[in-house]
């Protein structure tokens, strides 16, 4: 079920929330939490019922293993380590089978020169997300950081429908305690007003912006490998994809956050205007924040982080980014995308080190105009590097990516490329998209600032129920309208559903 679909917004969601509050009122908070778990599994089952068992098995297995570790006496460290290794190994094995088996078979076949048959495996939607959140939980159990052990809250933390399919990658410590709060089990108009506003913003990003650029990007990236592509066409497609993936994924994240806010549960932010970044380090502090946090805490730091000298640091960065790339999908294109960002990060760290040295010795104050020009140059260079990497991220194969990059540099691969220019018709919306991405305030700035303040002001006023009720009514109508726009097109899934 897609968040943008009519059946989700106007059947599943009202029914789930309505029953959640009714059950909480009639049968208590635990029963309401149980209903939300059940509803989340139903949400998952709507896609492919057969894999709901896999999700359930994963939740039960990891919870039990976590409990065994917690039950181990502190002096049985080796046993706890063995349990952790077994659990994480089993999780990675399942992930490896469903997501990477064919990739590895293909790689072995290419290396050995002997064709191997492919496995007929369908990727269970959201498997990367629910596997990683649980690995983090197990690692924290091992490290003694886990306090909350309620099985219902654990099941809800993993399967919670707003994040189940495409994140954000949640951390148990920020989610499970929220499920114990009594206020989330009571409907509040303020939560509805803010949650629906966020949902509407996310929906608009996805439907009005991302889906509008999707055909331009698909047009380029779905062209056959033999086709030659003109320069303007290549840039148009790549820039359209650059905007599409940002508004698609940040729109999805906003919708997830908004849905969760309807019951007053706050999900972590996932984006902070990444295209405003003035360096790649800055970019990764703004793009897919919850995945970056996961990779940093559970991969980069355990590898040693920056504690063993600069060479090890660059190596650790590279390993982290390569695996981060592979997390997105079982293809060399994702590995190269991760590797490119690893190289970018290494260069960026080296540059910073160099600049810090120069700054210490500098005696002259840099003029403001020069600083501004420097920032503009840094932003452009960062964006350009990100755009180049997106080509690998989106292309169907490395050959395709190289062909498209060649076309962007006016090096068409074929002899007779139809000379399609970028065209004003495409240029204006693309420029508009980048203006929004680069200049406008992002949704979390709106949520934490004027939106919350406005709702608080209304709440404090004498017409609270009437005013908030009217706002909610208008928001529901606007959401319906955008959902109808979405339905007027062919089905467009969220890009991160594939990961």
């Amino acid at each position: 079920m897609l968040f943008t679909s009519g059946e989700f917004l106007f059947a599943y969601l009202p029914l789930t929330l309505g029953l959640f509050f009714l059950v909480a009122r009639g049968a208590g908070n635990a029963a309401a939490a149980a209903w939300l778990v059940l509803a989340s599994f139903l949400f998952y089952a709507y896609w492919l019922p057969a894999y709901t068992g896999l999700l359930a098995a994963s939740v039960i297995f990891n919870y039990l293993l976590g409990n065994f570790m917690l039950a181990c006496p502190a002096d049985r460290q080796r046993l706890r380590l063995a349990l952790l290794s077994f659990a994480v190994g089993a999780d990675l094995l399942a992930l490896g089978y469903f997501k990477y088996a064919n990739f590895f078979l293909d790689a072995v076949a290419q290396l050995s020169g002997r064709p191997l048959g492919a496995l007929n495996v369908i990727l269970p939607i959201g498997i990367s997300f629910f596997t990683f959140t649980q690995i983090a939980y197990l690692a924290d159990v091992f490290a003694g950081k886990v306090r909350e052990r309620n099985p219902l809250h654990y099941a809800l933390f993993v399967s919670y429908f707003p994040h189940l399919i495409a994140g954000p990658v949640l951390h148990h410590a920020e989610m499970m305690p929220q499920f114990t709060l009594p206020q989330i089990y009571r409907p509040r108009l303020e939560n509805f007003a803010i949650g629906l506003a966020f949902l509407l913003m996310g929906l608009a990003k996805k439907v009005l912006l991302a889906d509008s650029w999707a055909p331009l990007a698909d047009d380029l990236f779905d062209s056959p490998a033999t086709a030659a592509v003109a320069v303007g066409e290549a840039w148009r497609g790549v820039l359209a994809y650059t905007l599409q993936i940002y508004f698609d994924f940040s729109g999805y994240s906003d919708m997830a956050i908004g849905l969760s806010l309807l019951i007053g549960v706050r999900l972590p932010y996932n984006f902070n205007s990444p295209y405003k970044a003035t360096s790649i380090i800055d970019f990764w502090r703004r793009w897919h924040l919850t995945l970056s946090r996961f990779l940093r805490d559970y991969l980069y730091f355990p590898l040693g982080g920056n504690r063993h000298g600069s060479v090890r640091r660059y190596l650790n960065l590279m390993v982290t980014m390569l695996l981060g790339g592979l997390w997105h999908g079982a293809a060399w294109t994702f590995v190269i995308w991760g590797g490119l960002h690893g190289v970018y990060l290494a260069i960026n760290h080296a540059w910073r080190y160099l600049c810090a040295g120069l700054a210490r010795r500098a005696t002259v104050e840099v003029p403001a105009a020069l600083r501004f020009a420097g920032r503009a140059l840094a932003l452009t260079l960062t964006l350009f590097s990100v755009v180049v990497a997106w080509v690998f991220f989106r292309a169907r194969s490395v050959t395709d990516a190289v062909r498209i990059l060649g076309s962007m540099c006016a090096l068409p691969a074929g002899a007779s490329a139809p000379t399609l220019g970028i065209g004003l018709g495409a240029l204006v919306p693309l420029a508009g998209g980048f203006a929004v991405a680069l200049l406008a305030r992002n949704s979390q700035q709106l949520l934490d600032g004027p939106l919350t303040r406005a709702v608080q002001r209304i709440s404090a006023g004498g017409w609270r129920v009437l005013a908030l009720g009217a706002i909610v009514g208008a928001e529901v109508t606007a959401i319906a309208l955008v959902a109808v726009i979405s339905a007027s097109r062919s089905v467009t899934e969220f890009i991160y559903f594939n990961f």
Binding site: S5, G6, E7, D219, V465, V472, G473, V476, A487
Partner: protein, 372 residues
């Protein structure tokens, strides 16, 4: 309880306020207007638009490709009235022929009017939502009103399969009937429907966004992918197609040699392959049915115009698209022009029909300015 009622009332008020604001805003914008089905009548029970209306067309949520035009006395998109009894080349098809997204003079029928030597009036019977059964079902109605000299039918992707689920006012497949098409009856619109049609919000939802509640509540369901049908067609489908090709000329009272079937190409594939291919990678039931129809029609002496090589040649030579894709795959003026040139070639090469010396006069009589 009182609080809940207050919230519901307030929410309704908020919703109404937003819709009112939207209504006012949309009234200033070129949302679709005047494009609505006319009521069925005893002599023309099939779908057509409300006659003699100035319409505005725009596409999708962002109101792109705005066109303004008129429907004529028969409720079809043409800037002139159709005069009963006049000699005619009937051009039949779906939204491609209706041509709301193009200027009339750029359409196939608009271009045929000047490309064909000594042609009778070129009358189009294009309706958005029509499919193959409509093209044959309209025959007796058209024949009763006009002296049809030639029949031109445009067949596009989906034309076979859509015939199995016709909306009210359109013909659908009927294996029992001969010709194999049966009308799904329509009803006159009530006053409430007419009132709703006058609202810009409703026109935007129904016209620009093609809102349909059943579809809206099933948008996540992709359905099983279409099976590839590289070889033959199901016997039931084949017999429908055979009966169709057999009955088409008779439905319009014409010999087979006066029927021209024009087949569109898979332009999406043409662009995907950058001009290398026009063949679907995975031909489905509809592709197979259209191929079978082309063969059956040719066997019976009907003219078959295949636009695949024509479009491919043009695209390879110029790199320019033949439609408004990637957002809308309806033909643009170039595609209409190429198709018109092909059809005109057949019409101009054919021997003049009996009484041809009178047709110019008939055309002049038929092409009268529309009543304003």
């Amino acid at each position: 309880m009182l609080r809940a009622v207050t919230v519901i009332l307030a929410a309704t008020l908020g919703s109404a306020l937003l819709l009112t604001t939207l209504e006012l805003a949309l009234r200033l914008l070129p949302v679709q207007n005047g494009i609505a089905a006319g009521d069925p009548s005893a002599d023309w029970p099939a779908h057509r638009l409300i006659p003699n209306v100035h319409y505005t067309f725009s596409d999708a949520w962002d109101l792109r490709n705005v066109h303004r035009g008129v429907t004529n006395n028969m409720g079809y998109v043409a800037p002139f009235a159709y005069v009963p009894g006049s000699d005619a080349v009937a051009v039949v098809g779906n939204s491609f022929i209706e041509g709301l997204m193009d200027r009339y003079q750029d359409t196939l029928q608009g271009q045929l009017a000047w490309r064909v030597h000594d042609a009778p009036a070129i009358l189009n019977f294009g309706s958005s939502g029509a499919s193959l059964p409509d093209y044959i079902g309209l025959g007796p109605m058209v024949r009763r009103r006009f002296d049809v000299r030639w029949l031109v039918i445009l067949v596009v992707g989906g034309d076979f399969e859509k015939g199995f689920s016709p909306p009210p006012g359109f013909f659908g497949w009927s294996a029992a009937a001969r010709p194999p098409a049966e009308l799904r009856p329509d009803r006159p619109r009530s006053a409430a429907v007419r009132l709703l049609r006058s609202l810009a919000v409703v026109r935007y939802l129904r016209g620009n966004l093609e809102f349909d509640l059943r579809h809206f509540l099933h948008t996540s369901v992709k359905g099983a992918p279409q099976a590839c049908v590289p070889e033959g067609l199901h016997p039931g489908d084949r017999s429908l197609i055979t009966a169709y090709a057999e009955g088409l000329p008779a439905a319009y009272g014409l010999p087979a040699s006066r029927v021209i079937l024009v087949f569109d190409s898979d332009r999406a594939e043409l662009y995907r392959s950058h001009g290398a291919s026009t063949q679907s990678r995975c031909p489905d039931r509809d592709d197979a049915a259209r191929r079978t129809l082309a063969a059956a029609a040719a066997d019976r002496g009907e003219h078959v115009v295949d636009l695949e090589p024509v479009f491919a040649r043009y695209f390879r030579a110029t790199g320019k698209r033949l439609d408004y894709s990637p957002l809308d795959y309806h033909w643009n003026a170039v595609a209409h022009g190429l198709a018109a040139a092909e059809v005109a070639r057949v019409l101009n090469q054919a021997a003049p029909p009996p009484g041809v010396d009178t047709v110019r006069a008939a055309r002049v009589a038929a092409v009268r300015p529309l009543r304003r």
